[in-house]
């Protein structure tokens, strides 16, 4: 296993999360480095979403540590997490379909003249930034006034990712960004992720059920099953069969073809 020469941007140590008597995470440790796509793989219910919710401040871990740039950190709310640079793009993307691209891009962090919530919006500047930032990661928007509801799924993902990066995300967490998309749009999103990876200073955590996608862009893998890490490694170390086996929680699926025959 190769160890990158930089320090991890975000790290968990023996993270445990219990929901009452149910243990969703049972001592998960992982390290995510800048400029890398870290694929978080595992079966349904393995605990992937729970892990990233702990990283983004939605859940508070029962025990264990979260370190951001080497410093131990506690998140009491999603706000805390986003303040230290953790940007999460949830499955529902947190977009308002009824308003424009720009209004969504700057939602909650609008640029304005004057202080206070009654400040007048700098619409023109915000239009330009939104177009520019989305172009940086590969999508050209013609009309920043277009309602988000009329955009394609891939474009929406890009909007949400561009927004997270623009507002200072050092760690970008993507929960199944391709799950609801058609083939072409899946590729668009992967290209977007690749572009972010090439920026070099952002660590990306990618949850996916798609082995092909993971192999296309991931630099490092962590496999989770029943709340525990059952394997990890860099893309060079792992064979396709290993990945498939570990993704299914360690069970032998090699014979699936025979079973189905």
């Amino acid at each position: 296993m190769t160890v990158p020469n930089s320090n991890p941007l975000i790290e968990t140590k023996e993270l445990v999360k219990k929901f009452g008597s149910f243990t969703a995470l049972n001592g998960v440790s992982l390290k995510v480095y800048p400029g890398e796509v870290h694929a978080l793989l595992g079966d349904n219910g393995a605990g992937k979403s729970t892990l990233i919710k702990a990283l983004s401040g939605v859940h508070q871990p029962t025990s264990g540590k979260i370190l951001v740039e080497g410093k131990e950190t506690k998140f009491n709310s999603p706000r805390d997490a986003s303040e230290v640079g953790i940007g999460t793009v949830y499955q529902d993307l947190a977009l308002n379909s009824l308003t424009s691209v720009t209004r969504n891009f700057f939602l909650g962090r609008e640029l304005k003249f004057g202080n206070g919530p009654f400040g007048i919006l700098k619409m023109k500047k915000m239009h330009n930034i939104a177009i520019e930032e989305m172009a940086k990661i590969g999508i050209k928007i013609e009309d920043p006034e277009q309602p988000v509801g009329t955009m394609s799924g891939g474009q929406r993902q890009t909007l949400a990712i561009a927004r997270a990066i623009y507002f200072g995300a050092k760690v970008l967490i993507l929960d199944e960004p391709t799950s609801a998309l058609g083939q072409k749009q899946q590729m668009e999103v992967l290209k977007t992720i690749k572009k972010v990876q090439q920026l070099g200073n952002i660590a990306i955590i990618l949850i996916t059920h798609n082995e092909i996608h993971a192999r296309l862009i991931a630099d490092r893998y962590t496999f989770i099953s029943l709340g525990e890490v059952i394997g990890s490694g860099s893309s060079k170390d792992l064979e396709g069969d290993d990945i498939r086996r570990l993704m299914a929680g360690g069970a032998e699926v090699g014979d699936l073809a025979k079973e189905l025959a």
């Binding site: 999603p78 706000r79 986003s82 949830y90 529902d92 993307l93 947190a94 977009l95 308002n96 379909s97 009824l98 308003t99 209004r103 700057f106 939602l107 909650g108 962090r109 609008e110 304005k112 919530p117 009654f118 400040g119 007048i120 919006l121 619409m123 050209k140 013609e142 009309d143 309602p147 509801g149 009329t150 955009m151």
Partner: protein, 528 residues
């Protein structure tokens, strides 16, 4: 298998619309069409049957008085529709607006009439157990500003409480504000009855009357503050001495105006007398023609031609008249009361009377002194709402709170604050409505504002607000208020049909608008 590389780019799919197309595909265009239709109907049908003209402003609907009255109805509704509409855009709605109007009006009228006190109740045992009150503070003479301030304290607090309960409990706003509707109406009636009774009565009326005409209190030089009407009926010697002290150019201007009016009135009276005299002759002529009596026709025709009447001599202008006219021109000594209850655009309406010859009634007098102040309040409020909703950060917060609550929260929008503030704003609009009404008519009634909450919601829906939130514009709300107000008047003038048909029409318009709005919303959400 064949495949061809698709050389089309994303931008090729974007077909920029011409400005005309994008104008007519704006969501407000439907309501604006209905508004123009109603405008035309009201203009056309209100033209008296005897006249033929293509000028819609010739009819009663849009003569000076018609405009004055119609705009009052429209702007009063418009004020509360803004409160209701913004709240609906944020995903909630308020059924307590109507009761809030009644409550605010009663609160204001009562403090103006009887003053304001803060009392501490306690149980006294002297002479049997009963409740006694210790007065902490008593202000006997409440100024209009203070009355408005006190009322706002109550109504804004109530708006805050409703909003707080809704965001904290997650209960639907329908049920909480329905509670507010009954609570406030009941509270208004109870307080009016208990404050309003004479010592010899057990229960009082649910109205407040005998409030002085505050907006018409003037400061008459040498006499101090008094009501305008009282000033006009000072002893004639006093009035004459007032005129003596006026600069000559002021007197000249006033007497010119009075002479003009007197001339007008005289001409109008002369015309009426001629009409009165000629009408029977014309009738007789018709009969003569019907009976083919050549001789009769001739004599009557001659009679009509030679019909003469001595013109009415214009009333001569006395110094007392000048004094009274002068008193009319003195500005209010209570600008706040005048701001809400008085008139605006008086100079324009004067101009329409003198050079334009349009603001004139059958007797030659000026029809309308101006527009009601509530029109100005509505215009100001609309402008503020427009800027806030479409140009400020709060506007984006309002849209996102109603459009996708969890997305707004995830992006750090203080959605609870947005909602509570809008409940308070809705209460503020209801208070504005009541303020304009109280200072205009100087009375208040517990039944005021009944059903207004539904009218406000209806106006908002007609104007393109989607009930599920997140969608709509201030321009739409304005148009909605116009449609509501115009429909009521237009149907009143259509000959041969019951005026209540306007409700049938509005019912239809509301459902049609809601369907249209939903269609637009779905299209934007990408479901069509």
């Amino acid at each position: 298998m064949s495949s061809s590389e698709n050389s089309r780019k994303e931008s090729d799919r974007h077909n920029p619309k011409s400005s005309l197309i994008s104008l007519i595909s704006r969501p407000e265009i439907g309501p604006i069409g209905v508004m123009i239709l109603l405008f035309g109907m009201l203009g056309y049908f209100s033209i008296p049957a005897s006249e033929t003209t293509w000028n819609p402003f010739a009819g009663e609907g849009f003569n000076a008085l018609g405009i004055r009255n119609n705009l009052r109805v429209i702007s009063q509704l418009g004020i509360i529709a803004l409160g209701a509409g913004l709240l609906i855009i944020a995903g909630e709605f308020d059924l307590s607006i109507g009761s809030m109007i009644g409550f605010a009006g009663a609160c204001m009228a009562m403090t103006l009439r009887w003053g304001f006190s803060i009392v501490l109740p306690y149980i006294s045992f002297d002479g049997g157990t009963h409740l006694e009150f210790y007065t902490l503070l008593h202000i006997p003479n409440v100024t209009p500003t203070l009355a408005i301030f006190i009322t706002l304290c109550f109504t804004l607090t109530f708006g805050w409480v409703q909003g707080f309960i809704i965001v904290r409990s997650g209960l639907p706003s329908f049920i909480v504000t329905l509670g507010g509707l009954f609570f406030l109406r009941g509270l208004t009636e109870v307080s009016l009855r208990s404050f309003n009774h004479r010592p010899d009565q057990a229960k009082g009326a649910t109205t407040v009357t005998e409030i002085p005409d505050i907006k018409n209190i003037i400061n008459l030089p040498g006499y101090g503050e008094m009501e305008r009407e009282a000033a006009k009926y000072l002893p004639e010697t006093d009035l004459i001495s007032i005129v003596k002290n006026l600069p000559s150019d002021v007197i000249a201007k006033i007497s010119e105006r009075l002479e003009y009016t007197a001339q007008r009135v005289a001409e109008a009276k002369t015309d009426l007398l001629i009409a009165k005299g000629v009408k029977p002759l014309e009738k007789a002529l018709e009969n003569a023609i019907a009976s083919d009596n050549e001789f009769m026709i001739k004599t009557i025709q001659e009679k009509i031609e030679n019909f003469k009447i001595d013109p009415v001599i214009p009333k001569s202008i006395t110094e007392v008249d000048i004094a009274r006219a002068y008193i009319d021109t003195i500005g209010s000594a209570r600008p706040i009361a005048d701001f809400f209850g008085g008139n605006i655009l008086e100079t324009i309406f004067d101009w329409l009377y003198f050079p334009i010859d349009w603001n004139v009634n059958n007797f030659g007098n000026q029809f309308a002194p101006g527009l009601y102040s509530c029109v100005m309040i509505w215009v100001i409020l609309s402008l503020v709402c427009y800027i806030v909703l479409s140009k400020t950060q709060v506007g984006n917060w309002i849209y996102s709170t109603g459009g996708n609550l969890s997305a707004a929260q995830a992006n750090g929008v203080p959605t609870n604050k947005v909602k509570i503030s809008l409940f308070m704003f809705s209460a503020f609009c209801a208070t504005l409505f009541a303020t304009c009404q109280v200072f205009e008519v100087n009375t208040s009634d517990a039944a005021k504002g009944n059903l207004k909450e539904l009218e406000a919601i209806a106006a908002a829906v007609i104007g393109g607000i989607v009930m599920t939130g997140g969608f709509g514009t201030v321009l739409g709300i304005i148009v909605g208020a116009f449609i509501f107000g115009l429909a009521k008047e237009a149907f009143f003038y259509i000959p041969g049909i019951d005026g209540s048909f306007y409700r049938v029409f509005l019912g239809f318009v509301i459902i049609a608008s809601a369907l249209l709005n939903e269609n637009i919303r779905k299209r934007i959400m990408g479901n069509i």
